[in-house]
Every structure is written in C-alpha cells, then in structure tokens.
C-alpha cells in the first residue's frame, strides 16, 4: 500500500479503490456474492481463536482506558457471539439478491415498455463504535446489495475488527470478487472520520452506528447523505381496551429484555379508565422486575414508584428506568407521543381494532406496533438477516436498514424506434 503522509490522501486512495470495486460489484452475479459470504462465514469459524485473541488485546486496552462495564460488554466477543456473526453472514448469503429486482413494469400509450429495477447505491461508508460484529454485518449487507463499503470502526475494537475484516476479504478472494469491495480504514486517527463525512464524490451514503456524540458529529459535519439513527424514545400506550395479560407481558419484555437497545421502551402511557387496574398491575410487575418507575402525580400513589420530573418525558434512559403517566384517551396518548417521541418505535396494547387503526394512522414513527414488544425493532426480527442500523429519517430508508434499503433504482425503457410528438 502506498505510503501516505496525510490522512486525506489515504482516504482519497481508499475512496478511489472503493469506486473501482463498486463498478465491478454492480454487475457481479448473485451466486458470486453468495459464495463470498459463505466463504467469509467459513473463514470466521476457522479463525475463531485468532479473532478471540485479537479481541483479548482490545479488551486489555479497554480496561486500561477505564471503559465502562456497558462499553466493555459491547466490545467483548465470545464463542456465542462469534457463532452469531457466522449465522448472520450465512443468513445474508441465503437471502434473495436485491440487485436487478424488477420493482415495477408497465406499458405506456406511446408504446414504451418501462421497468424500474433495483441498483446498488455505489459506495457506502459505515462509521461505528465498539461492536466488532458491525464489521461483519455491514460488510455482508453492503456486499449483498452490490455496494463497496468503507468501514471505519471504533479504536477500541481495532484489532477485533481487523481480524474479522481479514475473514471477509478471504471470502471475497474465494469468490473472485475485488478485495477492495470491503475496506477497513487502517488508522485510528479521527481525521479519517472527518474526511469520510465530506467525500461527496466518492461515498453515496454514510451510516453512523454509535452513541449520541458520534451521531451528532455526523449530522453536523456530513456533506454526504446520512441515514440518521437518532434516539429511540419508545412509548407504549396501554389502551382502555387492552388485554391485561398481553399488556403485562409486552411491557415487561419491552423494558427489561435488554435495556440498552434502541427498541427498549422508555415511557408508558396508561388510559385513565384502566389506570387502577391494568395500569397498577403492569407497574407492580415492572417494580418487581427491578425497574425504577418514575410516575406522574396520578400514579405516584402506587407503592414503589418515584416522582417523575418534567425532564423524564421524552427521555431515553437505556437503563432499568421507565417513565409512566396517565392519559385521558387515545388522542391524548397520540399527542404526547407526537410531542415527546423520536419517531423510532411506538406501540399500542389494545383489543379494539378501531383504536389500533387510529394509532397506526395518526402517528409517523418508523415502526408502529400493536400487541407486540418494541424489542422487535430489529432487522433480523424483520426478516432482513442482519441490519446495518435503524434509520429514523424519512428519506430513502426508514426503520431497519437491510440490503434492500442499501439500493437505488433505475428505469429501463424500451421502444421500437418510438418518438415523442
């Protein structure tokens, strides 16, 4: 590799190689991409010990740096998590290939036959922190959708990501695909991130996966289009016509299954008419599961709750804490969510179809749920094999971003010497 005296020229070189690889990937067969992903999965399996050793290096570095327990947990790999990475690669390999899919096809009175077909976006940039599995997930999804990808992982996971990346490249090589299809930025220098955000001629879209600091930086500085992944200020509204048992089960799972994921419920809205019955039962269940329940004045009387303050509405705890309030009716709940939500995922528990339909129609969250845990807000649970993140913006992709969302389209128009009058 060329000797680079500065980051900008390093990134420019990476970008040019990604563009060149993208041109080849756009016409690569579905079979070759499938073979590359299967071979990558085999390589990860074979290199298990090596990857875990690299991870141990990262974990030692992290301990010295004094990373929090939560961060160390996001960083750590073990046999089970590696098996998950292998399964993810094989799942994406098995999916239908989105490239070339005919999205629409019709004839015009002029005699034109028109098809709208899926195409890759071109070059995707992924900037992420901590989780080494993103190296594999993002690499797989971008390859599947015919895109070249430039991966810029966090410095904490530098060695783990490099070890996984080597397996992905082995897969590309086995399938005869360009190795530059999946590049890992080989420097911890933060200037590399800055460079990626402005490479508008080279990178078609950037996906940031990380905490508020990273996502905020990307939003502010990016000139390249970005799939926003903002906060998951997730609400569950327990309607007057809710089934008590479904309400308890759904809310407990939504809050406690994993408190650190974006789909974890952060705020409970309870219809006034069932506050003393279903509401009380659910809140007691949460307290019994060790959740700190911050309640409004109407619910504060329930033993074990603490008082909610103004700052508890519209807040993402990512912890074993939930805010709870009483609402007058479904429209009051909708109004609260419109004001305090982040348009990520919101849920209604009800047996009343009309209420369910009203909730679905009058809210604009990427994911709206009824009688289901918000922890399902995940690409794998949506059948995407893996996801590159959850987009909360409204442009291009929304909700879980899988391979199909990393595509664009073009029109193929056929005539017979047809001219326009």
């Amino acid at each position: 590799m060329k000797d680079h005296t500065d980051i900008v020229s390093l990134m420019a070189d990476i970008g040019a190689r990604a563009r060149a690889a993208a041109a080849d990937l756009a016409v690569a067969s579905a079979e070759s991409k499938r073979r590359a992903l299967e071979a990558a999965a085999d390589a990860v399996l074979a290199a298990r010990a090596n990857i875990l050793a690299a991870n141990a290096e990262d974990l030692a570095y992290g301990r010295n740096k004094g990373l929090s327990a939560a961060m160390m947990d996001r960083l750590a790999l073990d046999e089970a998590r590696l098996a998950g990475i292998v399964a993810g690669l094989r799942a994406v390999a098995a999916q239908d290939d989105p490239v070339g899919e005919v999205l629409a096809e019709w004839d015009q009175p002029s005699g034109l036959h028109i098809r709208r077909v899926r195409t890759p976006l071109g070059v995707v940039g992924v900037i992420y922190e901590s989780r080494p599995n993103v190296t594999a997930d993002a690499g797989a999804l971008c390859l599947k959708s015919g895109n070249a990808v430039i991966l810029r992982g966090g410095s904490e996971s530098f060695h783990s990501s490099a070890a996984i990346h080597a397996c992905l490249v082995a897969g590309l090589r086995a399938a005869g695909l360009p190795e530059d299809a999946i590049q890992l930025v080989p420097t911890r220098d933060r200037a590399a991130v800055q460079a990626m955000l402005t490479m508008t001629d080279t990178i078609d879209v950037i996906v940031p996966r990380g905490g508020k600091g990273l996502v905020g930086l990307v939003q502010r500085e990016a000139r390249v289009p970005v799939f926003a992944h903002l906060e998951g200020i997730v609400h569950i509204y327990i309607d007057r016509a809710a089934d008590p048992e479904k309400a308890l089960r759904v809310v407990l799972n939504a809050k406690t299954r994993r408190t650190g994921v974006c789909g974890a419920a952060e705020c409970l809205l309870v219809h006034r008419d069932i506050a003393d019955t279903i509401g009380q039962g659910v809140i007691r269940g949460l307290i019994g599961a060790g959740v700190e329940v911050r309640a409004d004045a109407a619910l504060r009387g329930i033993a074990g709750t603490v008082a909610a303050a103004d700052g508890d509405w519209g807040r993402e705890y990512l912890d074993s804490i939930i805010a709870v309030k009483v609402v007058d009716d479904i429209d009051d709940a909708i109004g609260h969510i419109r004001r305090y939500g982040s348009n990520h995922t919101d849920c209604i528990v009800t047996e009343d179809d009309a209420a369910g339909a009203r909730f679905f129609a009058r809210l604009d969250s990427a994911i709206l749920m009824r009688n289901a845990s918000t922890q399902f807000a995940d690409g794998g649970e949506f059948g995407m094999g893996a996801e590159i993140g959850i987009a909360t913006g409204k442009m291009h992709a929304r909700g879980p971003v899988g391979a199909a969302q990393l595509t664009s389209f073009k029109y193929l128009v056929e005539g017979d010497g047809t001219v326009r009058s």
Copy 2:
C-alpha cells in the same frame, strides 16, 4: 397575516403553518384530495382571463428587465398552456392515491404480521424559476402525496404564480382541506430562499427547478435534503446492429423536438463499423434539420460538420448543436458515457438484445433507453400525470419525481401479546 419585520420570522411562520397542515393532510381522505384538485382545475378554467392578465404584467416586467427570448418563452402563458395546466391538475386528481398503499406484507416466524405502507414525507419546499405551471404541478403532486408544500417561485413569474396559487387555495377550500397545505412565499426577497435551505426542523425535502445557478446554490447551501436535478448530458449510442431507420428517427427527435429540455440528446456515439453508412445518414439528417454537428476527426470528413474540441465532450448545449464521435464498440461507448455523462438519460439504438442488455446493465443512469427518443424523459410520459422534476441523485427518488416519489413509508407490526426471547 402577521406583520413581519424580517424574512426569517416570516419563513418560520410559514413553516409552522405548513407543519400543522401536514399533520391534517397525512390523514386526509383520497376523495378529499381528488376533489380539491378537480376544484382547482375548475378554478383555473374560470379565472383564465385573470391569470393571463397577471401574466401580461409579468411579461411587461420581463421585457423591461431585458430577459432573453428563451426566458420570456418559459415565462409566457397562453390559452393552450393554461389548458395544459388544467389537464395536469385533472390528471393528478385521477391518479391512484399513493398514501396508505401497502408496499409489502409478510409474517415472521415470531408470529409478527408486518406491513410496509406509504406515508407522506411531510413538508416539501419547491424553489423554482420562470415557469408558472410549476406552481400548479408541484402544488398538485405534493397535495396528492399528502404533503404540505411551500412554493417559492421566481420573481419574474410572481403575479402569474400568485394567480394560479389562488385557484389552488380555492380548490382546498372547496374540499375542506387546510389552506396552508399549499403556501406561496409572498416576497421576492432572496433571503426567503436562503431561509428555506436551512429549515431542517420544518422542511423534509427541497426540490430546486431552474438553471445551473439556482441548482448550484441549493446544492452548496442546503442543510435540508435536496432532490438534485443536475445536467442532462444525454448520449445516444448507435450500435453496429442498429436499425438505420429507427436510428435516424430516434436521433432526430431526441435532438430537435425541443432543444431546451433536459432529455434533449447532446452527444452521439457511432460504432466504427457503421460510421460510413448509418452514421453518415443520421449526421446528414441532423445537418438537414439545421443542427450544428461537431464531429471528431473520424467523422469530420462528412460535409457540413464542424470540428469538435475537447470541451464538446460532456457538454449540455440545450441548443441546436450536437457532438458526434466514433467508438470502437459498445464497451467504448459505455466507457465514454461513464466518463462524460451525468447519469440522467442515455440511449442505445440496436436490434441486438445482448447489446441492449449489456448497455442496460453496465450504466447507472436514472433512465436508460433502447430504440426510443430521450425526449421521453418526462414524468407525464412515464404515466405520472405531472412531475415535480427529474432527480439525478441516487437517494430516495431517481428519474421523474411524481406523487409516489414524494412519499416515505412506515412499518405497521401486529402481534398477539408477542414478545422477543
């Protein structure tokens, strides 16, 4: 209306009213939107004399300002163009309503039932120059897709746009829809444009319709997502296996039907093997039609051509001029288009299906055509009723932007008290 001491607060007020209208439009019935568009069409018909009088005022202003003949033509309305505006409104009224359309529906092994449904984007900003009909087209398409729209027309068409806008508002009123659904910025002050480009909390996407100056300004300054409408550097490649008669007909129409539209052909690539036969015939036809043909060394021998310079490749003339060169084969043509094209519209004339398929697969233009005039690069010709522009970027919309492209989607997920393990 409030008295505003500065443009920023005027635009903030317009934005807030657009957001409020968007919330109502998101749940407006298809019938009410259809009725509003039909009533608007009726209003335009009834107000013909008034609109033409307003246009006369704009034309007088334009003459004083010394606008070019081309600009005056873009500005001018007459009975025929008004009939076109009316027809466009009725065409959009008659279309299927995109909002709520189920794009995909499936069941997951977990028991979840998932639907992906179309939603409006929210608030669209349209910044345009000269053409008064954009007021009607953009207003209609945004309304149809459930979006509120903020229209900022050129100062040359100020009075014409206002007269047409009044008819759109009459249509909204007749259907009981909020009048703020379609707002026209009531000031010629350029600061209003600047404000729109940065209203990221209020405007979801901006569509610029105009010349290089406007589009460039928007690209540079916009923080709001933009549907890029870049140059139409349109190529036609006449393949070795081209039908001579189709080639002549398609090329003549593509160049001369209307030279000022983005779909007008600007460069002809001719396969070496048929340069002396089909190539010569087509070039002679162009010269006979009054087109200035700038030829490379290989074709310069044809009487009536002039010499092409380096700057003629990748150039959009928007005039009765075309650049012509010989290529060795289809891959040479593809290479030239990849280097010099603008990914707008490119065409191959051939009877060879394999060549047609290769051209379609290896180029990434928004529109790829075979044996059809590039003048068909138009939303109306694609069956969209009208178009708000042709997007050349790859994010969210590509090619002609009709009502369906002004939408996003959300997921509706139903369970039965379903929780994630």
